[in-house]
């Protein structure tokens, strides 16, 4: 019974969302969004169900249900829900809702995909929908939208190219270990394909030097869209990386590890160093996101189970941190508060939001006993544990550098000001509260989450 719920429920939900999105395209009220929210909650429930039942099967040749994907299903459902809550004040709810549903279904597809082809199409779907979301909302949004679109297109093209290249070795395009054609030993073609995959996914995941577009796009888009980009799209790309490099190219992890190391180091430094000189908080957070991608990549570079656990933990942690943070930034942006100087006296103006923001920032900086600290701790431990001590040291140094700009904002918030108090909308408060709670609670008691993650990782890799 449960099996059937899971087996049919998932495709049904996705279908429902997409059709619902189209159906209510023209509506002007928030109803469709609420409906979407409902669907997301159902998806979350199904994911939990599937996880606990320990299923592992393939559906329609393109969907795979196992511990890993079901856990991610639930997780992304929550993340998407949070973004949705932030979008409460969207001007064109119907349109937004449709695009959102498209993107959401794309996300689910990626998470559940069993085939490289479906993966590819899902990513394309997400990119397209997101680009349109960015476009939404006025003339100022054209530039970032265009940038996003062009970059995404380039990325997808490279991805297609890469898929084509591994054709001789994997006709089924299944996300399963490559069948080694023993005749073509360690072939350079496979390596080339691997590189191209890295490039393609790195663009979306925000790894150096493929992430230069990010700051402009993040800053230019509306707040909730940025939250989506940073909290969901980026993570989806990472999941894709996991699938491609730890399943498809499973035998090549040792070879690819130095590559990831290099990229991770460059990404961390780039993100942190440029963030230091930013005055606009939204842009600063964008670069901070970039550096966080670097940290996550450390776990991937390490490659052990512990490393993957750590990366996943940090992925989850960062999603909550970034959605919460961008939500607050969005709210303040709508009041014209953008630069670090504008943030002056925030503690005074709204104590709760100020403190929440500070806590989220501290979590990103890696201060215990918050979730971000646990994630970084796991990442650095896994690095040292596998002998990649230099990587860990660089990671710690970068954490240290990041304190500077997070600290700058917090210190500014601590300053005294004459301005009056501020009040956010319900949506922002709710999202902030949820993210804050997750960061605090999981930070204090991470073991449950860690064991869930270990279990799910083991089921696939």
């Amino acid at each position: 019974m449960i099996h059937s719920i899971v087996e049919y429920g998932i495709p049904l939900i996705i279908l429902a969302m997409v059709t619902g999105g189209f159906a209510f395209l023209r509506r002007r009220d928030r109803g469709p969004m609420a409906l979407t929210g409902l669907f997301l909650i159902i998806a979350f429930g199904i994911g939990l169900l599937a996880f606990h039942s320990g299923y592992d099967f393939v559906e329609f040749g393109i969907l795979r249900i196992d511990g890993f994907s079901s856990m991610l299903l639930s997780f992304f459902a929550i993340a998407l829900l949070l973004v949705l809550m932030l979008a409460k004040d969207e001007e064109e709810p119907g349109l937004f809702n449709m695009l959102f549903c498209l993107a959401a279904s794309g996300v689910f597809f990626v998470v559940l995909s069993y085939s490289l082809l479906s993966l590819m199409m899902a990513i394309e779907l997400i990119s397209a929908a997101t680009a349109l979301m960015v476009l939404n909302g006025g003339k100022k949004r054209i530039e970032p939208a265009v940038k996003l679109f062009v970059i995404s297109t380039v990325a997808i093209s490279v991805f297609v190219f890469a898929v084509v290249m591994i054709m001789p070795y994997d006709l089924s395009f299944a996300i399963a270990p490559l069948q080694m054609n023993t005749g073509l030993v360690g072939s350079s073609l496979i390596m080339l394909a691997a590189v191209l995959f890295v490039v393609a996914l790195a663009v979306e995941a925000g790894l150096f030097p493929f992430n230069i577009w990010m700051a402009d796009v993040y800053q230019g888009a509306q707040g909730h869209v940025t939250a989506l980009l940073s909290g969901v799209n980026k993570k989806v790309a990472f999941i894709a990386i996991l699938y491609v490099f730890f399943v498809v190219f499973a035998g090549y992890t040792k070879v690819l590890s130095p590559l990831f190391e290099l990229i991770a180091i460059l990404t961390m430094f780039f993100g942190n160093l440029v963030a230091m000189v930013q005055k606009d908080v939204k842009r600063m957070l964008a670069y901070s996101s970039i550096s966080q991608a670097g940290y996550i990549l450390i776990g991937i570079a390490v490659g052990t189970t512990l490393g993957l656990d750590a990366s996943l933990f940090q992925i989850i942690a960062h999603t909550f941190m970034t959605i919460g943070a961008f939500g607050i930034v969005m709210w303040l942006g709508s009041r014209g508060i953008n630069t670090v100087d504008d943030y002056k006296g925030l503690f005074q103006r709204n104590g709760f939001m100020g403190v929440a923001f500070a806590i989220l920032l501290l979590s990103m900086a890696g201060v215990p006993p918050l979730m971000g600290f646990v994630g970084k701790f796991l990442l650095f431990s896994s690095a040292i544990g596998s002998g990649l001590v230099a990587l860990a040291v660089i990671g710690i140094i970068n954490s240290f550098i990041s304190i500077y700009y997070y600290g700058k904002v917090i210190v500014s918030m601590a300053d005294r000001t004459e301005k009056g108090s501020l009040h956010p909308s319900i949506g922002v408060i709710a999202v902030t509260l949820i993210c804050l709670l997750v960061v605090l609670v999981v930070g204090l008691y991470p073991q449950p989450l860690i064991s869930i993650l270990s279990k799910s990782v083991l089921s696939v890799f």
Binding site: L306, F377, F380, I384, F400, G407, A414, Y445, Q447, S454
Partner: protein
């Protein structure tokens, strides 16, 4: 057995009540909870003095992959140091914030700090140590940036940068210890037993990394540049806690370092040289300061150098002396900062050049400061005398006459402190006027601190009876 978790729980309840209750109840609530915590500490003290163990180990895991769980050890270090935290915390709450500016935040930060300190001193594994360390860093940061005055934002930034460098080094060192000890564990007792198996080169890397981290915190020359602005611009409570407790984090860390890593002991003579340099450097800089708080800050740095000498000596005398020193100097410096704070409050200035004849209007503050100076220079019947005695007996045993050199920095420290007193406090020929007539509740705090310093100076077996 559940003493430590109980203490920390009480303090957290205190924080909650302070945050939730109305502003008027901040200080009474904070005082109540802090007093309860102190009472529990004293009970634990008595319990432990009679020889029963009070270790606490939680079975629920934090991160089971690393075997990290909630562990608190009660031993000859953690119990006396918890006493220090309890007394300084209570004194800070009662007297440190006369007008209760930003009362809720201030009181909750003090309670948080107190809890963090006790947690750190009692932690049974390095992971917990690190967590409490970082929380302490952030709490102090807010005390400087949000509650401080003067150039507080800048000082807070500098402080944060140095402290987080220390944290980074600390994390690195801890992780290295974990992964390179054959029996992988964060538990301090297990590490102590097994660390000699770490390869020598790695041990040295860990040693340097952790040493620098702790040297930043104490602070010890040459990593001390954050100190004078931070100590000076923090609020009164902030200064009391940072000087009295936070610097002891570093001292305790070095103590653990010496206990855990065998290589540390081979470098002890170099540590002594660093301590000598730091002590005199601090004393010489203290002479030049006009701001009383900066002067006290350098005094604290000189005292930290003395504690470092004791740890480097490493014998029973040295270590007992070091712990005694942490207690004695911690209490003494808290007293100094409290009296300076009260004077700044009443007279509107903390600069020697402006203050004159304070004793005329503020006798109790003046005499408390005098007593603080006695405590700093090691006058017998204050706890500092016992500390100096034990530390230098140990130093002489381990290093010969060279070990006694840091002792002579006291001459310089005494010289400038007495200069300050006689210039600003006891010379009423042209005395300054009181600016603010509201009184704070300093006297109970003074009494508490003075009583503790005297008690520990007259009955040393209270602390030393552990061994």
């Amino acid at each position: 057995m559940i003493f430590f978790p109980a203490i920390i729980l009480v303090l957290f309840l205190g924080i909650l009540s302070v945050l939730l209750l109305d502003k008027r109840f901040s200080r009474p609530a904070a005082t109540l909870f802090s007093a309860i915590a102190l009472a529990i500490i004293i009970i634990m003290f008595v319990y432990y003095l009679s020889g029963r163990t009070a270790n606490y180990s939680e079975t629920v895991q934090y991160i089971s992959a690393f075997g990290i769980s909630l562990q608190f050890f009660a031993n000859g270090f953690s119990v006396p140091l918890s006493l220090l935290a309890g007394i300084v915390g209570l004194a800070a709450i009662i007297g440190g914030n006369p007008l209760q500016e930003k009362g809720k935040v201030a009181n909750s930060l003090v309670l948080l700090f107190e809890a963090t300190a006790i947690g750190l001193f009692a932690s049974g594994n390095l992971f917990l140590f690190f967590i409490f360390w970082d929380i302490g860093v952030i709490a102090a940061f807010f005390m400087i940036s949000y509650l401080g005055d003067g150039n507080h934002l800048n000082s807070a930034k500098i402080y944060l940068l140095y402290s987080l460098l220390a944290s980074a080094l600390l994390l690195f060192g801890i992780l290295m210890i974990y992964f390179y000890t054959p029996i992988r564990s964060f538990s301090i007792s297990i590490i102590e037993a097994n660390a000699q198996m770490i390869p020598l080169g790695v041990q040295e890397v860990i040693f340097v990394s952790l040493l620098i981290a702790f040297m930043i915190k104490m602070p010890v020359f040459p990593f001390h540049s954050w100190m004078q602005s931070a100590y000076s611009d923090a609020s009164t409570q902030g200064s009391m806690l940072i000087a009295g407790l936070l610097s002891k984090f570093g001292a305790y860390g070095i103590l653990l370092l010496f206990l855990m890593l065998p290589v540390a002991r081979t470098y002890a003579p170099y540590i002594l040289i660093i301590a000598i340099a730091s002590a005199f450097y601090a004393a010489l800089n203290g002479i030049r300061k006009d701001d009383l708080k900066r002067m006290a800050a350098f005094t604290s740095m000189a005292e930290s150098a003395v504690i470092l000498t004791g740890i480097a000596a490493f014998s029973i005398f040295g270590l007992d002396g070091a712990v005694y020193g942490m207690l004695a100097f911690g209490l003494g410096i808290a007293l100094l900062f409290l009296s300076i704070g009260s004077i700044e409050f009443m007279f509107g200035s903390k600069h020697m050049s402006i203050l004159n004849g304070v004793v005329k209007e503020a006798a109790s503050s003046a005499y408390s400061f005098l007593f603080g100076v006695f405590a700093a220079t090691g006058v017998p019947i204050t706890a500092a005398f016992i500390a100096d005695l034990l530390i230098f007996i140990g130093a002489d045993k381990s290093f010969g006459v060279l070990g006694l050199i840091p002792l002579f920095s006291i001459i310089i420290v005494g010289a400038y402190l007495y200069y300050a007193i006689n210039k600003s406090f006891f010379d009423t020929e042209s005395s300054v006027e009181i600016v603010r007539y509201e009184t704070g509740h300093w006297n109970p705090s003074y009494a508490l601190l003075i009583f503790s310093i005297l008690a520990l100076g007259i009955v040393p077996s209270l602390i030393l009876g552990f061994r």
